[in-house]
Symmetry: C2
Subunit: 248 residues, 2 copies
């Protein structure tokens, strides 16, 4: 990871590279200065709403620390999570003035915001940034499509296993402690948030978590701390192809 990967992020993004991103070809240090000039930080407490769908949004931002979610809500209250923002992920879109989704902090959250107008101008003059953004957006589109398969075709058990695998994987890469197959991590989501992610009810989430525990796929320490004995065993439950499908 080069210093360029930090461009849209913050001083300590180094802690939290979820996905590896390609390194830029050229080095123009004044970009950083220009970005610095229009950036500011905002903090939110767990549970706080960052912005409501439809609200005026005059910034774009990237997550520094913590976790945020994008959700859509139907008139009658049915909710579907459509984005899970981890450190280094990006929110907002150049050329749009209203938020399209509810953005909520699920943990304490720090975001690095860029005022939209100057950011757009900078994007026009600095091809680099559009390219980085394109790359990130394409990654997110891939994630969304994986997610669509999950929502449309997987069983409740497979959905849960898939979500646990996603969290385990990112947690492992974060701590870069590739333990021999056993992994421990804290769930950053409540049962209800998991349900909104997976298109299930919270009762079904709870039942399937219990079932996976009963069947020895996972262990639970309290409600939030998960221990996965064997990641391979967990992966068997996801319904996914065994070969991780790492497309470059």
């Amino acid at each position: 990871m080069s210093h360029h990967d930090l461009k849209l992020g913050s001083p300590n993004c180094g802690d939290c590279p979820i996905r590896h991103r390609a390194v830029c070809a050229r080095c123009e240090t004044d970009e950083l200065a220009q970005l610095d000039a229009i950036k500011y930080y905002r903090s939110f407490q767990a549970g706080q709403t960052v912005i409501w769908s439809g609200d005026r949004m005059d910034f774009v931002a990237s997550v520094v620390t913590g976790i945020a979610t994008l959700t859509q809500t139907m008139e009658d209250g049915r909710r579907q999570m459509v984005g899970l923002l981890l450190p280094s992920d990006f929110v907002g879109r150049p050329g749009r003035s209203q938020a399209a989704y509810d953005v909520t902090a699920t943990t304490d959250l720090v975001m690095c915001c860029f005022r939209k107008k100057p950011f757009e101008e900078l994007m026009g003059s600095t091809p680099h940034i559009a390219q980085r953004l394109l790359e990130m957006t394409l990654d997110e589109l891939d994630a969304a499509r994986e997610w669509m398969l999950l929502l449309g075709r997987k069983t409740a058990r497979e959905k849960i296993a898939s979500l646990l695998a996603i969290i385990a994987r990112r947690d492992a890469s974060l701590k870069s402690s590739v333990t021999k197959g056993g992994v421990k991590f804290d769930l950053p989501l409540t049962r209800e948030e998991m349900a909104d992610y997976l298109g299930l009810t919270l009762e079904t989430v709870s039942r399937q978590m219990s079932a996976l525990k009963r069947d020895g796929v996972i262990e639970l320490e309290g409600k939030r701390h998960v221990i996965v004995g064997s990641l391979d065993r967990l992966m068997e439950e996801t319904g996914d192809d065994s070969d991780g499908g790492a497309l470059v």
Copy 2:
């Protein structure tokens, strides 16, 4: 729509603007020539596979005429459509050498392909193209997120109505014949393809189509030709907010 919107497309893309896209700021005509130099056309018959997931893919492309789908398939055969490519839509991603999804022609199809290597180089030297691509990708991400809400939270009836509304809307904008509320169009998808789009079985699709007919929301002429008396009535069935939610 300016001539720039056609850049990644083909001579007759003018026929098929599904979504309006912003017009570029500057006019550099040699871009067109450069793109022309690396492009070529490929035709496929309805039902033909353009490329299989995992296959080497040394081009990126955009749809000129016809419709293609992106689908993911699980080992046991469960299938989920994750993209519906209409004229002017883009496939492939710079910086990736393998296809991530099955791409299939559902109607006769003409694609405008660009050899990947030179396209990437061109993208490096022409900021313009990355910006267009970013914009298109963001649109697709939004569509994917709408789709996720559909897959995760809508009932079978709402799913069908939503799909019909999507097709009706694009068909209307294509023919730009904004009839007083009544619309006719041909379904470009089989019941099975609709099912793969919606995360349902084909039987459920068929039953819900019949139900919508019985309830006077739509009429059917043959199996494929749909008549929607009132788009508003159809929209009521989708579960979506009434205010179209046109975010700029």
